[in-house]
């Protein structure tokens, strides 16, 4: 359907925003919720909210963290509304066997399963850091906690991943005695 002309420049800005960030948002959403369809919905809802609030985006360079923040909140809202659909983890792991070597595909599948098994309190800051490029301080601001707590969560996330990949699932949640990896 055609668009009404009065939205001209805002529409162009939005168009550029969607084209630049839709795929990154999808990837982030996918790893937050672990479902393709839900991830697509999240991206769409995020961009709809972004459209409504587009006038508040002053700095183009800040667009990605801004969008990721909207997406996280949207996800959290959905999570509260629908707590909690338990999905078999094995069903959620992406099948990329067609595009990678068998060794690589197997290794990736292991890591993916391990990431999806992470408690959201560990997975979310890890995704924000790895996919979103957020610093510890930025994550702390977003999650409304202290940078030290984020460092601990990030350490725990990687420690649990390592443990799962090494076949040792008995990592406890106590504060690390010395923090050494």
């Amino acid at each position: 359907m055609p668009v009404l002309s009065k939205v001209g420049s805002k529409q162009r800005q939005f168009d550029a925003l969607v084209r630049a960030h839709a795929n990154d948002l999808y990837r982030f959403a996918y790893w937050l919720c672990g479902e393709d369809a839900r991830a697509q919905d999240l991206v769409q809802e995020t961009l709809l909210r972004a459209w409504r609030a587009l006038d508040s985006l002053r700095d183009g360079a800040a667009a990605k963290p801004w969008l990721l923040t909207i997406l996280r909140r949207e996800h959290a809202r959905g999570f509260e509304r629908k707590r909690l659909d338990l999905t078999e983890l094995d069903d959620r792991v992406v099948d990329d066997s067609a595009s990678a070597s068998p060794e690589r595909a197997g290794s990736d599948a292991q890591v993916r399963a391990a990431i999806l098994k992470l408690d959201p309190k560990y997975r979310e800051p890890l995704l924000m850091q790895v996919l979103g490029g957020f610093s510890c301080e930025e994550i702390a601001r977003e999650l409304n906690c202290k940078p030290g707590a984020v460092m601990t969560q990030l350490f725990r996330a990687r420690q649990k991943l390592r443990a799962q990949l090494d076949g040792n699932h008995a990592v406890d949640d106590r504060e690390p005695a010395h923090g050494l990896p």
Binding site: P2, V18, D108, I115, V130, L161, H178, P181
Partner: protein
Amino acid sequence: MDCLEFRRRLAGEPRSREQAFLAHRDSCHAGCTEAWWRAQRLERRIDNALIVEAPPHLAERILLAHFTSMRTRVRRRWQGFAIAASLLVALGFSAFAFDRRASADPLPAMGVAHLAGEAGALALTQPLGESALRRGFAGRGVALQAMPDDAVYINDCVVGPYRVVHLVFREGAEPVTALYFVDRTVARARDFHRNGWQGSEMPFGNGTLMLLGADARGFTSVERAMDDAVQGPAQQALAEL
């Protein structure tokens, strides 16, 4: 930075590019370098595992859904006004009668229905190159005389039983669709309004040109561009007289 601080940082921010962090990595002989490499191996595995292909044309589909919902919202608002004003009841009746008349004519109906199948074209913004344009016209046996500026999409389509060159032009923020029915003629030019689309059809070359858009503002320039493309530039024709 000492080893303890380095390891703490490595545990939480293994990708840190902070100078002191990297300097310690390069100078420490107590195993910090090896620990850094171990951490980077895990980071690579995480990066590889997180690669997920986004669904094809995700951005285009989102933009299309957005355009559609915007249009629906605007239409609903106007419908609200229409209900409140008794005068618009009569206007609505006229619109209904007009729509019925349009329904009886298959060409606008087919043209508008065809747009839904290639709706992603309306979100495109990048101008096409010469070779793509030539191929699109050649697919319907039309030799291109001049490059139509601002064309962002072309396809040789079949609309109903007719062979069509389907183009989308970007006129400012608005897409204007041009459907060139190469072997279907109409007796005279006329405008129409159908399913929220403003349209215009006119005899054109050996066929019919149909223009569709939110409104008719971009039609004149698109018609001129199509005329130049199919019949040759107007200046050239004048010069030959």
